[in-house]
């Protein structure tokens, strides 16, 4: 048999040999393949596994719920409101056009909007939602829900949007949120990714802006496994974020609203603060603006209208408006002189209507003079000559030093965007800013709060508070509670003033309002224990020429609005046991006594008698108290004290 095979098949041994070689070669190649498996899975295995995880697991952030803002008694100022909206998922829609047609029967979809939507839907991944309509009414939303089976791909959703229920009454204080700009994102550092979340809004002004970090909270994190197309498959990790802090402001919204209404059409500001803990109870700036417009984006036309308004509604005048303090500054001049020991209680000056310095005449507002004036009379009747003389004695540098202790020329520590420090000029300031030496005449101007001097309503309120509390450096503050925990007030430091000196000035301020011939006598509160002490001011905006003085100074009514004087008034109450300080400024309003003082009186009445002003508190012959339109006649369950 073997022989036979050999005969028929002489190449069999060659085949066997070569088959062996072939199998050897194949085994060798298989070994190489095995080696490659080892290399990929064992040697490089962890690298590949890590790369695989990076490719499929995508972390994404969960937007934290923004903290809400309330007034000191819990009235909502900035809240998160449910936003009913309708989105479309392309992968679930059969015929997008048909679905939109049917949806359009329930909610309005204009033709251009429809066109834009179709484009957006086509360019969005099939499994991602496209927002069809937002801020639907509940009725619309409910109807979409009811018709959901007939609207394949349409999903009703509830999101959160910021809402400011008090509209323009507190707009300057709450500020507003808006989509972060490129710059905001660049500056955000670690929070960049949070700001890039869709629908993310950040504070752009007001408390929303200064308390951004607290209000925003911390973003949560989810790690989602996604397929190669980016479609989420399952959640691997879910870490909830920390909601932003709820803030209770020091603001008394009822008072704030009243102050806004009281200012009415005027352009101006009212600031009310607690003279001990610095709580800002009202900080009205008129005209106001509605922050809600900014949340969803303002139209260009609306924006331009706001920006170009002569009365600057977007400017928070309480902190950003600067005005010559005028006669309201005279208390500081008196205190500087008393502190320096230059005058005593018996000091008196004769006012003849003007004094001369070199070749210049400095006029009193009263053309033929006040006669002999002591400190109390001079403040009460706001005699300019007395304070020209005092300023000259004190000198500008000493005056500035005292003024700064009362907050004039220093930045109020309230943090609000646009807060200004104003100007308290002295020799160094003029050298640095004007590169000119100081002129003696400028000291006289400073003595009546004119010249270079500029202060904001908040600064004037702070100044008044520091006088009222006996000379302690109180700082204004806006945030009273964070997540229900009281924020401790800063401890007070002294200004170095003598109590007797302060009392003397306070006595004079009492006389301004409560004594006949006082400039604010017509705005007195005639109620024991609720009386007000204060000081009027009228800040000149234009220069009065000698020629005009000769023919008689023009009345404000005869001037265009922009050239009229600013009306100012600062006060504290109750006079015998002070608690609150107020500053009022009405831009181009005219005289402080006739325009600003009545506003201050009304606000103080509202503050001290929140329920009903007792008969006789507004004496006969005085302007009647302003009663706001009936919209404010809502239930008021507060006691006399505004503390909750």
């Amino acid at each position: 048999m073997a022989l036979r095979t050999h005969v028929t098949d002489p190449n069999r041994s060659t085949f066997s040999r070569r088959a062996f070689v072939l199998f050897g070669a194949q085994t060798a190649i298989a070994a190489v393949l095995g080696g490659r498996m080892y290399q990929l899975q064992i040697i490089e295995g962890e690298d590949h596994a890590a790369r695989g995880r990076r490719a499929r697991i995508k972390p994404s952030l969960l937007a934290p719920v923004r903290g809400q803002i309330f007034d000191r008694r819990g009235k909502p100022l900035a809240v998160n409101r449910q936003n009913y909206r309708v989105v479309l998922y392309r992968e679930e829609a059969e015929d997008i056009g048909d679905t939109l047609d049917r949806l359009a029967k329930i909610i309005e979809i204009s033709a251009p909007r429809r066109l834009a939507l179709m484009k957006e839907i086509k360019s969005t991944k099939a499994f991602l939602p496209v927002v069809i309509a937002e801020n639907l009414s509940w009725d619309e939303f409910a109807e979409v829900n009811a018709n959901a089976p007939a609207l394949p791909g349409i999903a009703p959703e509830v999101g959160l949007t910021r809402h400011y229920p008090q509209t323009d009454f507190a707009g300057h204080i709450t500020g507003y949120v808006a989509s972060p700009s490129e710059k905001d994102i660049d500056r955000a550092g670690d929070e960049r990714a949070v700001l890039k979340l869709p629908g993310m809004r950040i504070g752009k002004s007001g408390v929303e802006q200064i308390e951004e970090t607290a209000l925003r909270g911390k973003a949560g994190l989810i790690r989602v496994e996604k397929d190669v197309h980016g479609r989420p498959i399952r959640e691997l990790e879910h870490r909830d974020g920390i909601a932003g802090e709820d803030l209770k402001l020091t603001l008394n919204f009822d008072l704030q609203k009243y102050a806004m209404q009281r200012l009415g059409e005027e352009s101006g500001s009212v600031v009310v603060m607690d003279i001990y803990d610095g709580d800002v109870l009202a900080m009205a700036s008129s005209p106001g603006f509605d922050p809600n417009g900014f949340v969803l984006g303002l139209s260009q036309a609306d924006w331009v209208a706001l920006r170009d308004d002569e009365k600057r509604p977007l400017s928070h005048k309480a902190v950003a408006g600067l005005y010559p303090p005028g006669s309201t500054f005279k208390m500081v001049v008196a205190l500087a002189a008393l502190q320096a020991g230059l005058i005593g209680g018996g000091h008196a000056v004769h006012c003849g209507g003007y004094i001369e310095l070199g070749s210049h005449r400095f006029h009193c507002w009263k053309r033929y003079g006040h006669g002999v004036m002591n400190l109390e009379d001079a403040l009460k009747q706001s005699c300019d000559i007395f304070f020209y003389d005092l300023a000259k004695r004190v000198g500008i540098d000493r005056l500035a030093e005292t003024a700064r202790k009362f907050g004039i020329g220093t930045l109020p520590e309230i943090g609000l965007l646009g807060t200004k420090s104003g100007i308290m000029p002295d020799k160094a300031w003029k050298r640095a800013n004007r590169n000119e030496p100081w002129h003696a005449g400028e000291t006289l101007h400073a003595g009546i709060g004119q010249g270079y001097m500029l202060a904001s309503p908040l600064q004037l309120a702070v100044m008044t508070a520091r006088i009222a509390n006996g000379g302690y450096q109180v700082h204004p503050r806006l945030v009273g509670e964070r997540n229900g925990e009281r924020v401790k007030a800063r401890s007070l430091t002294g200004t170095g003033m003598r109590e007797a000196d302060i009392d003397m000035v306070k006595q004079a301020m009492f006389a301004v309002v409560n004594e006949r011939r006082g400039t604010a006598y017509k705005s007195r509160i005639d109620y024991e224990g609720r009386r007000m002490a204060g000081k009027t001011g009228t800040a000149q905006v234009r220069r009065i020429t000698t020629a005009e003085r000769g023919t008689g100074v023009l009345k404000n009514d005869e001037l265009p609005w922009r050239l009229r004087d600013h009306a100012l008034f600062v006060a504290y109450a109750p006079a015998d046991e002070p608690r609150y300080a107020i500053s009022v400024i009405v831009e181009h309003g005219g005289g402080g006594s006739s325009v600003a003082a009545p506003i201050a009186r009304d606000v103080m009445l509202k503050l001290q008698f929140p329920k009903e002003v007792p008969e006789g508190a507004v004496p006969e012959g005085a302007d009647p108290m302003f009663m706001p339109p009936k919209a404010t006649a809502e239930k008021d369950d507060d006691s006399d004290s505004e503390d909750a």
């Binding site: 095979t5 028929t8 098949d9 002489p10 190449n11 069999r12 060659t14 085949f15 066997s16 070569r18 088959a19 072939l22 199998f23 194949q26 085994t27 190649i29 298989a30 190489v32 393949l33 095995g34 490659r36 498996m37 080892y38 990929l40 899975q41 064992i42 490089e44 295995g45 962890e46 690298d47 590949h48 596994a49 790369r51 695989g52 490719a55 499929r56 496994e225 996604k226 397929d227 190669v228 197309h229 498959i233």
Partner: protein, 389 residues
């Protein structure tokens, strides 16, 4: 009776004898591999029998029966029909060229009634059978003669060129490799292989030299695949994407894998063609090195059983058919594994008995049928020359 038993080569064995002498170990291994395949099809469909596993099982069942039928038929019949088979396959290849369906950028499919056929797959076996017959019929004394190599070279080149034109470089390489291995095993002159090596080197050079020329030998996408294979970083999101994704998923398997049905990248569609060309990656990700090596070992065992049995076959046709089938089988799994592990360019070669696909399953089991037939009929005597049966 006794004389008949003493001279088994004179007559055909009975059906019972055939079944007894069947290489059952090989059959068992084939079933094991196919079963692994069903499991992987099930996994590739994220744990569903549809769309792949069920159909694959039906195809295997039909092909498996076909394998038995082929194995039972006398090997001499297959020698007789060898050239007809080859001519038929060649005709289909030409038919594809004329009326084929374009699938995945290449013309590969032909429809015969309800059956969709890939003639290039059929040709792999047809070529093996035809070459085996050629060398079987050849006078053994002339085997070292160089001129006898001309007909087999034509037999290899003709289908290879047609397949390249489809274009399907992978199959063309498989055809050539299978053909040359048969020529080698037939005992042809070693000088020929020396010359072939030089010739192939020249051809590879020509392929690269022709790039961008008017006479460019390969399609642009084939060059791109080669470029990307040589440097996957060239195009990480495009052509190199397949290779890098496959390596990542395969490597993620580690020692024991992520677990059956648990391969994350396979689950999440990161793998292209995960049920066909890249099924080995799914296996690697889910079963790790242990699973991958196990499959490799089974494949090598099939090779060993196949090639080992050829040594007992007494006729040239049987030996060459059996070893040709083994070579084709080897080329399938070696190229596919090399491809998904980034050792070879992506050329579209399936993993034998595991990748989803009807034609390759049918053709492979037909091939194994021939191999088994050659073993069963290893002792039969052929008429000395030329005649059909």
């Amino acid at each position: 009776m006794a004389t008949l038993l003493h001279d088994p080569s004179r007559i055909s064995p009975t059906l019972t004898q055939k079944l007894l002498s069947l290489n059952w170990a090989l059959v068992a291994l084939i079933i094991i591999v196919a079963t692994i395949g069903f499991g992987m099809q099930f996994s590739a469909a994220n744990g569903n029998v549809d769309p792949w596993a069920r159909l694959q099982m039906i195809r295997f069942a039909i092909s498996f029966i076909g394998m038995f039928v082929v194995a039972m038929i006398d090997i001499r019949f297959w020698r007789g029909t060898a050239y007809i088979f080859y001519a038929f396959a060649l005709l289909l290849l030409v038919g594809v060229e004329v009326a084929g369906t374009v699938g995945m950028g290449a013309q590969r499919w032909i429809h015969i009634g309800p059956i969709r056929l890939q003639p290039s797959e059929l040709m792999k076996i047809a070529l093996v059978v035809a070459l085996a017959r050629y060398f079987h019929d050849l006078n053994p004394a002339r085997i070292k003669n160089i001129f006898i190599l001309i007909p087999p070279l034509i037999m290899i080149t003709l289908p290879a060129v047609l397949v390249v034109k489809q274009p399907d470089l992978g199959t063309a390489v498989l055809l050539c490799a299978g053909g040359f291995v048969i020529m080698f095993l037939a005992g042809t002159n070693m000088w020929f292989f020396a010359a072939l090596t030089v010739g192939l080197g020249g051809a590879v050079y020509a392929v690269f030299a022709s790039k961008g020329q008017e006479w460019q030998l390969l399609k642009d996408y084939q060059y791109r695949r080669i470029d990307v294979f040589l440097n996957p970083a060239l195009d990480p999101r495009g052509a190199g994407y397949h290779i890098s994704q496959s390596k990542t998923a395969f490597g993620s398997g580690g020692s024991f894998g992520e677990g059956y049905l648990q391969g994350p990248l396979s689950r999440l569609d990161f793998l292209p063609e995960k049920h066909t060309d890249f099924i080995f990656t799914v296996l690697g990700e889910e079963f790790g090195l242990a699973g991958a090596i196990a499959l490799l070992v089974i494949y090598v065992l099939i090779l060993l059983l196949g090639l080992g049995s050829t040594l007992r076959i007494k006729h040239v046709f049987g030996r060459l058919v059996a070893s040709g089938v083994c070579m084709t089988f080897f080329a399938y799994f070696a190229i596919n594994m090399a491809m998904v592990m980034g050792l070879a360019p992506v050329v579209g070669v399936p993993l034998p008995l595991i990748s989803y696909g009807g034609t390759s399953m049918l053709v492979l089991l037909f091939g194994f049928g021939l191999l088994l037939s050659a073993q069963i009929h290893g002792q039969v005597a052929f008429p000395r020359r030329g005649s059909m049966l």
